[in-house]
Amino acid sequence: MQPTGIRKTSYTTDNAVVHTHTQWAMLIGFLVLLFIAPVFLSGHMMGIISMVCIFVIAVLGLNVLTGLCGQISLGQAAFMGVGAYTTAIMMSKFGISFWVALPCAGIAAGLVGLIFGLPSLRCKGFYLAMSTLAAQFILYWVFMHGGSWTGRFDGTGVPAPTLGGITLRSNVSIYLLIMTITVIMTFFARNLSRTKIGRAFVAVRDNDLAAEVMGINTYRYKLIAFFICSFYAGIAGSLYGVYVGWISPDHFTLMDSIWMLAMLIVGGMGSTVGTIAGVVFLRGVKELAAIGADALATTFPSMATFALGAGTSLVFGLIVVLFLIFEPRGLYHRWQLFKAWYRLLPFPY
């Protein structure tokens, strides 16, 4: 629903992402706020926001594959791992600059994603989910048994990136780096849905047979979707490695893949805003659950194993199950209903 008094006179304006001057002002204000945030945020808060941004990138990729193209990936965390390990190996073993390693990490993850997307030639839905589940287990095993390249169980370190002679090691510089890349990646993800490729994705999602009859090469577009999805995961993984400084196989488990899929569902599939909302919501829940579990463990030591071992997962599992039963279309749907309500405000419809 459009705000009252807005009329579209050409296709370009109808297709625009940002419609009104107010929206432009709010968008620019928000971006400026994000980049001056380090002035008044504590280091801990900046850390939380950096993690949110990293997951926003990864889940945006998942949104392209699942939300736009209708395929399911249970291996997003493993593809993130491919990006992280590529960055680590290129930077520490070969001394290649971060600015080269970053796109390489994306491309490496994208190519690995393509391999596990190959079964999409002949199957879809659940079968494809199985293929990516296999990717999750196989890649985890590769990280675990990669010898000195991946550092096996212990993991490997990722050096800090440099920019024009300055080493980006402080919280603030890493925050700005991650934020810049997140904004760029969000911009591309949002615009992708308006291009030819994006429209083809939606056609494949809605009915792949009908799409094929209309002349869309279904297989090719599914593979493109897989590549883009894993590319985003690779970039996110690369940034994750740089942010954390030390990566090990246990950072990229099936559980993390499920978290990312859940972020997408809770936020609302197929929309960029929904994706971001889902990531912010579930990361927030994770932080709160961790604080709650700590508090519970210190107040009642007898419940420590319960709270620390299972608290977060318990809360997470409950949220996912309840969301699917009561709000299957996610937070974004609720937000749209709210917008429709206030734009009509004095009238019920």
Partner: protein, 294 residues
């Protein structure tokens, strides 16, 4: 050669337990078209429930197992009634994610209730094994093998002879037709979840007897997926054939390759098999190739 036959025999026996776990998955898929990613967790939960009644409460062994299986069945019913039923008619992704959510939830509940430590069943079979021409077969494995086969026979008979079993097969053909002949499809969904939870618990008990009861049981339960895909998702017959194949590939592959790659092959071989099946023959050995219409 002896080494090879030894691995073959072990793989066959492990594979039969996989078949049993996969049977539960296939039953749910056939009747309700739901892909149950929580099957591995049901395996683990069932194993712990049986342990609770046998060791913690101290019931005699046969009674403990029976009560544990019944308790698992109740869990299966609860899952169907309160989480699956509200989602009937929702898109595939929601249901997949729901079962993934259940997987996380059940795993967390098991940690919360029983803690993370390893538990052991009282000795069901003696530690020793029998020796056949240089191959040693532990009684635990033989026992698990025989029990899995017997249970499989019982459930096959159940599907072919009883009224509920026949109704389940009818529902797997078409929900609407089954409903119009007076079969309550909702009840069929519940029944398939109950049975799936019971066979999962039986699988958990047998796997727990082989490897000890721990949190890794849920990951081992997930290996039913390669079995299901190899056999074909709608096929009970496929489970019986595919389980031993996957078990043998896993054990033989691990036996020969572990020394070169530093271990852990058993965790990855089933999934390599899975990807190959998907590329070469996505509908499995006995699955139906569905023709789609727009």
């Amino acid at each position: 050669m002896t080494f090879f036959i030894q691995l073959l025999a072990t793989g066959l026996m492990v594979g039969c337990v996989y078949s049993l776990v996969a049977l539960g998955f296939v039953l749910i898929y056939r009747s309700s078209q739901v892909f149950n990613f929580a099957q591995g967790s049901l395996v683990m939960l069932g194993g712990y429930l049986i342990w609770t009644f046998m060791v913690w409460i101290g019931l005699p062994m046969w009674l403990g197992v029976l009560v544990g299986l019944a308790a698992s069945g109740v869990v299966g019913y609860i899952i169907d009634r309160f989480t699956i039923r509200p989602l009937i008619g929702q898109p595939l992704l929601s249901i997949i994610l729901l079962t993934l959510g259940l997987y996380v939830l059940i795993d967390a509940l098991v940690v919360a209730i029983w803690g993370g430590g390893e538990k052991a069943y009282p000795q069901l079979f003696s530690q020793l094994g029998m020796s056949l021409g240089g191959i040693s077969l532990p009684y635990q494995y033989i026992g698990a093998f025989v029990i899995a086969l017997v249970l499989f026979g019982i459930f096959t008979l159940f599907l072919q002879r009883t009224k509920i079993g026949l109704a389940m097969r009818a529902a797997s053909e078409s929900h609407k037709l089954a409903q119009s002949t007076g079969i309550s499809v909702k009840a069929i969904f519940s029944w398939s979840w109950v049975i799936a939870a019971v066979v999962a618990a039986a699988g958990g008990f047998l796997l727990g007897n082989m490897n000890g009861l721990s949190l890794s049981l849920s990951a081992i339960g997930l290996r039913a997926f390669p079995v299901v895909l190899l056999g074909g998702v709608e096929s009970v017959r496929g489970c019986i054939v595919a389980g031993p194949i996957v078990g043998i590939l896993e054990i033989v592959g691990a036996g020969y390759l572990n020394q070169y790659v530093g271990g852990g092959m058993a965790d990855v071989i089933p999934y390599v098999v899975l990807v190959l099946i998907l590329v070469i023959r996505p509908y499995g050995l006995f699955g139906e190739t569905r023709i789609e219409r727009i």
